[in-house]
């Protein structure tokens, strides 16, 4: 009949094989954190996609957008802030490159610059909030503006905190090296994610 399964000889083989394989099985748990982070960011991205979708739906159904009487948005400060945030992604990448060359000192410097740039972005955002001529409940556009940028700002804050945390840990000698740098890489990927979301957000709210 056919060969659904294994012949005894080979089963035997497998059996011996297992004894050896079991050693590997009880070794250190393989590191799936990076993959897990990427999967998590898909979920994060879907929250933003939901908010963007709602924004586009409001925009499409209302006769005038932004609703009549909404003051013009100032473009200069958010424009500079956008350039700042996009550049910080490249700075962050330098930190990753540095640690892969086992240059912990360099990585620290680049991380510190990234955190500073993120902080500047947040300060700029707060400055913009305090100088806008509309409030959260002025109209639908104003509400969407504050909720979307605020939710993104929350993510930037988390990103800055993550970078600061990585920076704090990197004080320990040998904590990060060219072989062991999950923290830096994870912070970097998260930071790129925040950046990409901002580019979409900026396009939707300010430019479209």
């Amino acid at each position: 009949m056919q060969s659904q399964t294994i012949d005894p000889a080979k089963t035997e083989l497998n059996h011996h094989h297992t004894a050896e394989a079991s050693v590997g099985h009880h070794e250190e748990h393989p590191d799936h954190r990076m993959f897990g982070l990427v999967v998590f960011l898909i979920a994060e991205g879907m929250i933003f996609m939901g908010l963007f979708g709602a924004y586009l739906a409001f925009r499409a159904t209302l006769p005038a957008w932004p609703p009549a009487g909404t003051p013009e948005l100032e473009l200069l400060l958010p424009g500079v802030n956008t350039i700042n945030l996009i550049s910080s992604s490249f700075v962050m990448h330098n930190a990753d490159t540095a640690i892969k060359k086992n240059d912990a000192r360099g990585a620290q410097i680049w991380l510190a610059i990234t955190a500073a740039m993120g902080a500047i972005f947040l300060v700029g955002q707060v400055y913009e909030y305090t100088h806008l001529e509309f409030g959260l409940t002025t109209n639908l556009f104003a509400s969407a503006f504050y909720v979307l940028t605020g939710f993104h700002g929350l993510h930037v804050t988390i990103g800055v905190l993550a970078i600061v945390a990585v920076l704090w840990r990197s004080r320990l000698p040998g904590h990060y090296s060219n072989e062991k740098h999950f923290g830096i890489e994870a912070a970097e990927i998260y930071w790129h994610f925040v950046d990409v979301i901002w580019i979409i957000l900026f396009g939707l709210l300010y430019l479209l």
Partner: protein, 580 residues
Amino acid sequence: MTQAQLQETANIPALSEEPGIRKWQDYFGFNTDHKVIGIQYLVTTFIFYCIGGVMADLVRTELRTPEVDFVTPEVYNSLFTLHATIMIFLWIVPAGAGFANFLIPLMIGAKDMAFPRLNAVAFWMIPPAGLLLIASLVVGDAPDAGWTSYPPLSLVTGQVGEGIWIMSVLLLGTSSILGAINFLVTLLKMRIPGMGVHQMPLFCWAMFATSALTLVSTPVLAAGLILLAFDLIAGTTFFNPTGGGDPVVYQHMFWFYSHPAVYIMILPFFGAISEIIPVHSRKPIFGYKAIAYSSLAISFLGLIVWAHHMFTSGIPGWLRMFFMITTMIIAVPTGIKIFSWLATMWGGKIRLNTAMLFAIGFVGTFVIGGISGVMLAAVPFDIHVHDTYFVVAHLHYVLFGGSVLGIYAAIYHWFPKMTGRMVNEFWGKVHFALTIVGLNMTFLPMHKLGLMGMNRRIAQYDPKFTFLNEICTYGAYILAVSTFPFIINAIWSWLYGEKAGNNPWRALTLEWMTTSPPAIENFDQTPVLATGPYDYGLENANEGVPLSDPNPVLSAGPNSVLRADPDEPYPTIESELEKR
């Protein structure tokens, strides 16, 4: 040698120490063992099921008579709102995660989930979220806008209760997203060497599809709820027409999750049924690949059908057309699964134990719910019966006749593995009989009520509906009674039941190749696949190609049987059956 013997001899379970001994306290604290977490999920969600069930019976008691005479209309509104929320978010969705937690690492030969601590965090979000929701009854302002919480209604009824509802659902959504991340990473990265995706048990396929769906759809609900919370608390008008907002946008965001949620609620049990039927029919599963891929098809299609809940919400005609067609197409992969199960049972040596009875009950009642679903997908019919008891009947056939029977089938099937002891078959069958009778008595008349025009979510109705409502109410009481044999049986068997041994069903999937209950890290040695997951009843099992072969014989189903040996003349299914 039979396949079960082959698989068992290839995998010698851990015997060096007393297997799987855990203290009872372990189940009440933070524990990172996936098996403990799985049982924590199942027991917790079952408690919520009982609470939600009591609420259902209160609702049915109110509806026994046409007048409002049992609870006030306000309490009635809160009861059906909480009943639905609890049953969906605190029972069926997390119960699926419970089985997945217990089974996935065992089935793929891993020691634990990919992120054990994240796993514990995901579980421990559920009890506070559930208590928060139930506590809303105490503050005297329970949510009462229906489980959909459609604005603007939800914005003008109970303020505090609605806020609590949003918080609770957000917490539960976070929990299921974290769970889904864990399942996806575990399934993709932690299978034993030798187990390709096509050697995975079908439950794993189903959980893969479910987790992917959860990952993509749940965050959109979270976004919608965040906006709703702003409307409720901060005074924005996203969904409030008086301020230029659009309540239909909320419906889109809500159903973008909540429609896929019905697949999140049914796919894990499709998977469980695909495990149970071949074991208890002693036959290879029919169409392994078809069942596996149809799960993926369902989860993809599930994402593009949400607006069929909104045919009466004023969406454009062309959009209705699109959603009607996609909704009807979902019946195809679902039908593939149903027919594959039937073909698996066909000619099998069926063992009618409780697990198999529930599995057969699942297939039967789910088909009724599925067919009324195809009816509801048709726009003209849906407009006629929208928000009537026909919809209530349909969703209960799917969620009770489908998911809940699936949960029971899975509990009876894996009880020996989880506890190391057998359940009492007699009381299991009593439980099954009461459940099936109660289920059909409660929900079958609702189809007729809906066609006659009885609205859902009302406490008072036209006296002409009285008779059918009485039948429904008594059915609901039978359902309430039916849980008692189960609870007592489960507790008694857990404590004093007959010892089960490692593999009481002579099953082939890897979870049965370890001790019952499984040892702390599941396997002493990396398990090997000596046979495919569903190769029951085939002769000459010890001849052939190992799965580690570079071109592995896909070891499931008659198709692979036919392809197994290219040199021999193709055997037919009939000749296969004769040989057995």
